[in-house]
Subunit: 126 residues, 2 copies
Amino acid sequence: MTAHPDFSKGDGLLPAIAQDAETGQVLMMAYMNREAWEKTVETGTVHYWSRSRRKLWLKGETSGHVQKVVDILVDCDLDTILVKVHQLGGAACHEGYKSCFFRRLKDGAFEITEDKVFDPEEVYKK
Amino acid sequence: MTAHPDFSKGDGLLPAIAQDAETGQVLMMAYMNREAWEKTVETGTVHYWSRSRRKLWLKGETSGHVQKVVDILVDCDLDTILVKVHQLGGAACHEGYKSCFFRRLKDGAFEITEDKVFDPEEVYKK
């Protein structure tokens, strides 16, 4: 059986950080349950557990911006996952930015640090 | 008033990822409440909320391995924090490794990817 983090913690839902394997940029953080972990390991494409939709979530299923696994790491307590990925489409954030962390604190306010890679209205056609 | 993430989410406790500002290595993930956020912003030294000890936690208070803030970012949903830090002592993990993410999945098992920077028994004298 494949090694796995400790899903007895966090009510079975562990934080998973996605990091761009090429640039080191932290792209997003979401959650994995055991099923999402196994799907990610098996398929080499990152799956999370969507807390809002309460279902397995293949990241990029709508946008096509899937994340291909380069490396999977776990932390000392076996309760946080770090996935180094190759981000297809160049952007992880549903708002069109490369990283979900596109705002930084500067002089007491949040400023936007990067340009959008895509237009969400084009990608997520309603 | 300084901008802040949305502490009405996650029962007031938001995940905070620490990343080495120089190398881009993800060092650890812990949690911040509003008090920890404010202390971090005010002092320029990273504070978390210790869930196990249920108290404000100045990272490095015992080991001296404090984290100096270089940049603070928040994600699109304002419920995850990314702190780029200068890690004093060269190691973030209480087990003596530079990063808490010192194990990676390889051929179905976890393998250790880096050497210890310090001996925990020396640093946390009991």
